[in-house]
């Protein structure tokens, strides 16, 4: 399945759930509402045409106004891939856990919770694991985070 076919397939079958985002180069990037995330993921995984059974990566981003969580999914049988983006507000970001769909998401979500401060609903083990135990300086990956030894470079 080429990218164009995949795009048209998703746009016809997931009209209300996924919206295409032009920012994605090379890969297809879709946006989804935070409330629909788990249902969309389950559908994508079980759709016989797509079979997104492989969870590659989960990354977070802070655009100073919003948080973004990007899920990179792949399908081993169909050899296709897709990115799904969830946009979250800067105040009280909360997202549902997708680890019921892909257990691999567990650690990525923990990491996102720890570094970005995005709370994960229904996560079974939301404990600190990257930063050291006495850490109390906030969420380091946020753009507005600052620390004494952090030197912000001028914009080049």
């Amino acid at each position: 399945m080429t990218n164009e076919e995949l795009k048209s397939y998703i746009e016809t079958n997931y009209t209300s759930l996924l919206t295409h985002n032009e920012a994605g180069k090379y890969d297809l990037l879709f946006e989804v509402d935070a409330v629909n995330l788990v249902t969309v993921c389950e559908k994508l995984k079980n759709d016989p045409e797509l079979l997104f059974d492989y969870f590659c990566n989960l990354s977070g981003a802070d655009t100073t106004e919003k948080f973004e969580a990007i899920y990179n999914l792949g399908s081993i049988k169909k050899k296709i891939r897709i990115d799904i983006k969830v946009v979250l507000p800067h105040e009280n970001p909360v997202i549902d856990s997708v680890q019921t769909v892909w257990p691999a998401a567990n650690w990525y979500e923990r990491e996102m919770w720890e570094l970005y401060g995005i709370h994960i609903n229904n996560h079974d083990n939301l404990t600190r694991f990257l930063l050291h135990d006495e850490w109390d300086e906030g969420y380091p990956m946020r753009k507005d985070w600052d620390a004494p030894d952090f030197i912000r470079f001028p914009d080049l």
């Binding site: 930063l131 050291h132 135990d133 380091p140 030894d149 952090f150 030197i151």
Partner: protein, 170 residues
């Protein structure tokens, strides 16, 4: 070590005792310098170079350096790789568990001053010098095996120049 520590105090007082002190000193220093057993402590990139140094081409063993896994049985920590803030207390514990006399080699930029890249990182300890005292620094990111060998030879020279009187202070 009780007797050896007190040896210089008594032997200096009797005529000709200085010879005894010097020869004991030489023997002890020789023994220590030529059988430095190092603790297998590698955290990051430098650990791979440490492995290479221990393996076929560079052959650490010819300097009398064999790795031991337990801190109780080693004389030397080669701190290879980045020490994060989470790791730092463990490094201190390991150092405390070692028996005297103990030495530390700081291998690579990260252990010297936070490295060429991690000077503004929130989780990396900027140099291990404020965790444990360091005897030899080896710069490089990561240092080549040759420079590690050179560092070890330097440490051996340092050890051979030690005086028995220094032992009392430590």
């Amino acid at each position: 070590m009780g007797i050896i520590k007190k040896l210089p105090i008594y032997s200096e007082k009797i005529p000709g005792g200085g010879i005894v002190t010097t020869s004991v000193e030489q023997i002890l220093n020789f023994a220590q310098a030529k059988s430095l057993w190092y603790l297998l402590f590698g955290t990051a990139c430098c650990a791979i170079e440490l492995m290479c140094t221990g393996a076929s081409r560079y052959d650490f063993d010819r300097l009398g350096m064999i790795f031991r896994a337990s801190p109780r049985q080693s004389d030397l920590i080669i701190a290879a790789g980045t020490i994060t803030k989470k790791m730092a207390p463990r490094l201190r514990t390991l150092y405390d568990q070692m028996a005297e006399p103990r030495y530390v080699i700081a291998m690579g930029g990260c252990t010297i001053k936070g490295g060429p890249f991690y000077y503004d990182s929130y989780s990396v300890e900027k140099g291990i010098e404020h965790i444990i005292p360091v005897d030899v620094f080896i710069p490089g990111c990561p240092p080549r095996p040759e420079s590690l060998l050179e560092g070890c030879l330097t440490l051996q020279k340092q050890i051979q120049q030690r005086k028995l009187a220094d032992w009392q202070e430590k």
